[in-house]
């Protein structure tokens, strides 16, 4: 969190740089079948974020040492395309994307019925084509839709969203400026049917009341996003 005071992210009327009020979610649209050669795929456009997720499998787990006798392994990769940000990203190994891949895999493993596919592997590929804050959330959400599109059995889909704080005001679904100049970021992965969590991170500074407010914003936002996920899966590719 930078905490630069010179960028005014919210005006005196409580309107944010992108025209939203503090409790509004950016526009979200989802389509399926965007990677025709994959077993399942989804694209989420969320504000300026543009994210593609593709699922391959279940397939033979290779090399054999990654096999598990009692369940499938999820092989998840999160990656940002070189042209997805203002400054080009050099392709290759990157600590940030490795960590995001790991927590995303763990979130998805919590809902996928992996025990139905012992000794196999399910590949989940998440590619950020255009980034505007909250790409890990967009990735988890898109991956959930792609898994459902591939017909992989799950107890629920994961809806992920991040709220946070800027100029000491708690705001729902951070945009780029709020992420850069804000004081806190609370991304969560929510199971919309039960309100349970499978993914949680946070950095910054929140009072107990602010934390509760951000938490509640995420829960409300998850409902809105979940509706779009279901619509995309029921309606199929546009």
């Amino acid at each position: 969190m930078g905490g630069y005071g010179d960028v005014q992210c919210i005006d005196e009327n409580g309107i944010r740089l992108d025209g939203r009020t503090k409790d509004e979610v950016r526009p979200v649209s989802i389509e399926t079948g965007v990677v025709p050669v994959a077993d399942g795929s989804a694209r989420i456009r969320w504000g300026l974020n543009d994210c593609i997720a593709a699922v391959y499998g279940p397939m033979e787990a290779h090399p054999r040492k990654i096999q598990r006798q009692d369940r499938a392994v999820l092989d998840v990769r999160y990656n940002m395309a070189p042209f997805s940000t203002t400054d080009r990203i050099r392709p290759g190994f990157n600590r940030r994307s490795r960590e995001i891949s790991k927590v995303t895999a763990e979130a998805l493993e919590s809902v996928v019925l992996t025990e139905l596919y012992p000794r196999s592997k399910i590949r989940v590929e998440i590619e950020i084509i255009c980034a505007e804050a909250g790409t890990r959330c967009a990735g988890i959400t898109a991956a959930s839709v792609a898994l459902a599109h591939a017909g992989i059995p799950m107890t629920d889909m994961v809806v992920s969203v991040a709220s946070g704080k800027v100029h000491d005001i708690v705001v729902c679904d951070l945009n780029k400026e709020e992420d850069n100049y804000g004081e806190a970021d609370l991304p969560m992965g929510i199971l919309p049917n039960t309100g349970e969590l499978v993914f949680l991170q946070m950095d910054g500074d929140l009072s107990p009341d602010q934390f509760q407010e951000a938490w509640d914003y995420n829960m409300e936002a998850a409902k809105v996003i979940h509706e779009e996920m279901v619509r995309a899966l029921k309606g199929g590719a546009e």
Binding site: R77, T85, E127
Partner: protein, 263 residues
Amino acid sequence: MSIPLVPSLLRAHLAELAAEDKRHDGRDRFEGRDVELEINCLPRAEGSARVRMGDTIVLAGVKFQIMTPYPDRPNEGGLMCSAEVRPVAGRNWEAGPPSAESIELGRVVDRGIRESGCINTEDLCIIPGEKAWQVILDVFAISDDGNLFDAFGLAAIAALRSATVPAERFEVGEDMPLDVSKTPIMCSYHKVGGRFVYDADKREELGGDERIHITLGDDDHVHSLQKGLKGIFTAAEFADIMDEARSRCAELRDLVNEKLEGE
């Protein structure tokens, strides 16, 4: 890329079709799949394109950086072309360092663009010996159903031609269109069932033999050639596909021009 076992049945099937001068999806020998081209589709890139040919989908994005010119060429900027096929694009593409196949893809696309001279690197100089533009062209596969080469080549030149030099963001003058003087286009031919076909899909690539990539610039000048994979071809076969490439490249060049005029 891991090479799956090619069932001899697939090869035999493609050979049978070839004997009747047919293809498995009903196309003529030199008929391409429908091409969709979209320009300026990536908001964070200074130039971009999306190409779809059948179920093959690729993106290209142009970014700019400021570089210090090389001491032996103080008046020149640079052009870098990099191609990535990440595992998102198909079940046989693997994670990890770039495979030989994806490096070959990037280098063949790069040669076609670079050798055409469509970018004059002296135009990229800002202050001689101190500051120059480095143009970075990244091509990225979303879905590989064969012939990534041509899709990459088309997306690459369309993205370059749509690019704006972001001088204002770097505080070195006013934004201006990148000057791209030529439109090199690549056409690829695969030997399938003993004869060359244009724009092979994945099945034809898997059940086929050698491939030839031809990049032609304006006025049919040849800018890059590449023969890939095991196989033997005759001078007559080459002359045949070269003739085809001339007319197909011209059609695709018209498509790029048409899209850019529409912008």
